[in-house]
Symmetry: C2
Subunit: 254 residues, 2 copies
DNA sequence: CGCTTCTTTGATTCAACTCAATGGATGTGG
DNA sequence: CCACATCCATTGAGTTGAATCAAAGAAGCG
């Protein structure tokens, strides 16, 4: 199904950044009221996307960035053997699509993990108003920069941490993102499967399952299917970089 | 040593983008002659940085992006145990420092792998002229976007490839970057150590050494210390995604 | 030219993967 | 509402690719 098939044209629904409770997390952050008004003219809403439906696919023509309003999505690329590699999960207030700016084609696919809604940020128009609103240009640079920094952290997690540390790090990362959104940092639902967690972190589903259950046995978390509660945040934090300091220099350079 | 200690103030040396042979690879790409003139007023040169000296360190105040003019650098972050994780290697025409835009502090450190020179691109001024030169703003977005895409590819390499495939992929990546620079794609010098290659790819130095020698035994490459020659590019390409297609779905989702 | 750093090579170990089988949840259609 | 199918998660046993440990050789440096 194509987004233009709909009877009601949701893309015409003007979204109001100024009344959006995500504005301090999202693109509008730091903009004056006057500049917000200009931005709102560019942003469009959309109808909800159901679980398993694609927001965009690799090689699709790029014409817009997307901000998650509700729900969650995963982005993934495909390797030479057609296998999926998940490169990120996105939650409300987070923006995706930046990777397509260079080639004007999406370099990854994005699919809803649950019923989700989005704001569309048509890139050409965004580009234009960035020239007129210095704070907006700056915010764009900052968002791109932040994405780079968080990819660097992920690289570190995957390259230097054990399976146990990776999963703990992942759970903590979700926790702090939900906290920022005003949800509980202690209790949340995993919108992705064990398979997807493993894929993202470079682990098999069996390893993910075993370790989540080990954390539960140790009283660090309680997990029931998708529902997770962090029982001992400090302990989980400690697991994130458990490996003892001095002896550990397996990949270290200089 | 601080960059202001020098007798001759190299930072005053105006660099000429318009006569630079890297202009089509670097920030000026796609700019008109008139816009190039404006950009040149912002860009500053610098004295050479010798091997092992830092261009910037983590937490340094961010005030400038850097373009490599000659030589090469590595960027790295430090984990909780003080261990280094290399996040990228940069060659002439490539720009680094983007990760610091968000927090205004460098989130990684960068050090010269050999004697290298750079152009300084003071960010505040760059920001300002981006507002006046739409093509430049666009080029900035594109460079940031490209950096994201290449990090995604790295993630895929590290998460889904064997040690052998990672190293082959790394050698091919260097080859194509050197080719773009107009150097030989078949023959080049590794400016980084085995240790640094391993660190970057999530492997130990022993594994890197063994596999490079295996490639040599198989006649795919010739390697003598830092000097590498690709004897059979097709074979090396084939190694990059050697693992057979159908059976391989260890981390795959959906 | 002695010292340090980098690289190579071999033997052994182990964390995470693979293979295998079962269990629980959700959904569908008769 | 039950029977069946499917999908996802769990758990166990055995295997393996890359790490670790160890030691020696080569190169570069002061």
């Amino acid at each position: 199904m194509n987004k233009h098939d709909q009877v009601i044209d949701f893309s015409r629904i003007k979204t109001s950044c100024s009344s959006c409770n995500l504005q301090e997390l999202c693109l509008p952050r730091g903009l004056s009221e006057k500049d917000l008004d200009k931005l709102e003219l560019v942003v469009k809403g959309s109808k909800p996307l159901h679980k398993g439906h694609h927001l965009f696919r690799i090689n699709d023509k790029f014409d817009s960035l997307y901000a998650v309003r509700s729900g969650s999505v995963k982005s993934y690329i495909i390797d030479e053997h057609g296998e999926e590699q998940i490169i990120g999960f996105y939650f409300p207030g987070e923006i995706l699509g930046f990777d397509a700016i260079d080639s004007k084609q999406h370099t990854c696919s994005s699919v809803a993990l649950e019923t989700s809604t989005f704001c569309y940020l048509p890139f050409e128009r965004l580009n234009e108003i960035c020239l007129k609103i210095p704070d907006l240009q700056n915010q764009m640079f900052r968002l791109l920069s932040r994405e780079l920094t968080s990819e660097n952290k992920l690289l570190l997690t995957i390259n230097r941490k054990t399976a146990e540390e990776r999963i703990a790090t992942f759970l903590i990362s979700l926790s702090s993102r939900f906290k920022i959104l005003g949800y509980s940092a202690r209790e949340y639902n995993l919108s992705m499967s064990r398979q997807e967690i493993g894929n993202y972190l470079g682990l098999t589903i069996e390893t993910v399952s075993r370790l989540l259950n080990r954390f539960q046995s140790n009283g660090v978390i309680t997990i029931n299917r998708k529902a997770i509660r962090i029982e001992n945040l400090a302990a989980l934090q400690a697991i994130c970089d458990k490996t003892l300091s001095n002896q550990n220099n397996k990949h270290s350079a200089a």
